[in-house]
Subunit: 428 residues, 2 copies
Amino acid sequence: MKAYNEMSREELLSLKEELDQRFADAKGKGLKLDMSRGKPGLAQLDMVMDIMDVLDSKADMRCETGVDTRNYGLMEGIPEARHLMSDMMGGIPAENVIVYGNSSLSIMYDTVSRCVTHGVLGSTPWCKLDKVKFLCPAPGYDRHFSITEFFGIEMIVIPMTPEGPDMDLVEEYVSKDPAVKGIWCVPKYSNPQGITYSDKTVRRFAALKPAAEDFRIYWDNAYSIHDLYEEEQDEILEIISECEKAGNPDMVFEFSSLSKVTFSGAGIAAFASSKANVEETKKYMSIMTIGYDKINQLRHTRYFKNVEGLRAHMRKHAAILRPKFEAVLGVLEKELGGLGIGEWTRPRGGYFISFDAMEGCAKAIVAKCKEAGVVLTGAGATFPYGKDPKDSNIRIAPTFPNSEELAAATDLFVLCVKLVSVEKLLAQ
Amino acid sequence: MKAYNEMSREELLSLKEELDQRFADAKGKGLKLDMSRGKPGLAQLDMVMDIMDVLDSKADMRCETGVDTRNYGLMEGIPEARHLMSDMMGGIPAENVIVYGNSSLSIMYDTVSRCVTHGVLGSTPWCKLDKVKFLCPAPGYDRHFSITEFFGIEMIVIPMTPEGPDMDLVEEYVSKDPAVKGIWCVPKYSNPQGITYSDKTVRRFAALKPAAEDFRIYWDNAYSIHDLYEEEQDEILEIISECEKAGNPDMVFEFSSLSKVTFSGAGIAAFASSKANVEETKKYMSIMTIGYDKINQLRHTRYFKNVEGLRAHMRKHAAILRPKFEAVLGVLEKELGGLGIGEWTRPRGGYFISFDAMEGCAKAIVAKCKEAGVVLTGAGATFPYGKDPKDSNIRIAPTFPNSEELAAATDLFVLCVKLVSVEKLLAQ
């Protein structure tokens, strides 16, 4: 396969003609596919339907300490749910965990919102400060960036490396600028690249010496058990105990969720941190809510029983998801390998494949796909303010479509990558 | 029965001796009862357990428009749940309703929090203002006051009348002071007095001419279908259409919940307002959450089907609750009637009986009850900052205890009222 940048103008022109024809054919097929979001596929949802039978009208609705889950009380969650989520997050003590609604994104929003209005452990509320900044490893998760943008927090892009965020830069910003109050992290199978932070990276995080007393690491452990390969699982160091060992016990807020384990938006989510942070959060919670849905907590814990139950379930997910990832990766390799017009990740878990097109091509590729009926995540979405400085990164979400749809969508995608790249080269 | 203030000192002393003896006996019984909160009783919870069978592993999990409730999407709630909640709130259009988590208190917190950080429809965020004030009809709901206190909002007590808050005062404050941004209302069967706002009161609310563009009525319609008597139901005018008619379409935020219909904390809750406010809220929601638990929405709507189903269910609640209310009221009447040491409400719905002791006696009565093993809502809790200027109001929550416990608790309560009143009169 000849790399595109080694082709003559004539070769490129003739290639373009062929690709234009193929694109016209593809458009004619009237595809209508949405790959914009990391949604579980139907088979994953169907597979867990027996959770709906766990609690019926005859069920004992008391949690393990005898409290009736149908009435008020136990704001921090039922003990067995705190236990399950603490094990899922790497075995931190259950008293460091609060089970907290149906969505970890809501917990992150609440947490940032409360820092804005009330500060952290007695620090100045951010709304009283002239400037608040967050470090944003990018490409990253668009919904993180939306929260910080919503609160007027200045976002600083931190490049990603194969070991996680560029820690030299992180240390520099965090130790020198007291306006830097946080960093967004997806430490395992990062969104969208599928990168797992190395032990060295985690330890450097734990050893940060922040200029701001209210600096926190926002540790969104979204994919802690979302491995694709049983024999090749990434492992992530447990950050809360690492911070404790490093003398920074209060420096991390961790978030986790079962939305991509059982049902999206109908799972349970959790917050974990140091004793001091958890105590403060419980005080806040007594103002903001009468408590979360303990019946759904009971349903989930009775169903999975323990973290081994969770892991067994996730192996079934992997069996469904692995072929989808491999199908996309196979097409990318076969169609784009050696052409020099794109690079992509081969994640061992998580929900995404990250694709880097030639500079200045991502927006055009996404638009081209849309023109032929395949909606991808907006180009730029993986960067703060939706602005990818190189206009290069595209997030591919292979989980939702069935295999037929996925094949059609990926074929279209590689066609659009080729077409836009040729046009780019011809315009140079 | 001789009124206490007509008794001679000798009579009071001899009465005190008798009451002291009876209190010592009561203490000896070792009661242990918590009547501090408006919790549903066991019979109410057991009665609705068949809702747990509505969705099992064989269920069709699509809502009426075909969207899979197990996956992401439909942030504003499934259509049938919006419809059910809109009917429950008096028949406003379903597009004015967002179904929104498990707790209406959380929605209120979120709403106030967002006003603090972002303002309303383009107004200045409250955190940028020197002073923000809320009007607080009192006695009222302690959790409302906790939210405003948490955000440093100054609370102004508005006395209650049999028709609702003192509207002369409300109009005065709202029309003259641009720092007044809201008023907390429980318009039907108010917490704790059980007062339902008259049509005149509701119309005066709708016709307010606020000095602040971001003034809103926080209309916590918590007990809209919580009637105790089928033949004597209070009716409340529908505030959103009244505001619209009065040319103030955006002036009300309404809240509602099924926590006291099915399970506390495992029901569904809703927000309702004008089109403009709902649109703005939906924009906020796209930042703060991936959506709420649509499966629980589906469970509730499949179970109740429509507002008639809700009402039929609430008649069964009434059959359980009416005897509890009547038992307490009977003891109050029999033991305290004519003594001139207390007044109380006879609500036709809601969750509480409001008791006004002689001035300066409420704290002592609550303490006395606690000494003998019955925990009541803290005296003062029904007023902003926990400060009842007359130290007179006590909230009685008769719903949770069974009839035996309730009888024991009420007997103790009237005994403590008598004892504290005698001591007060002797000390004068």
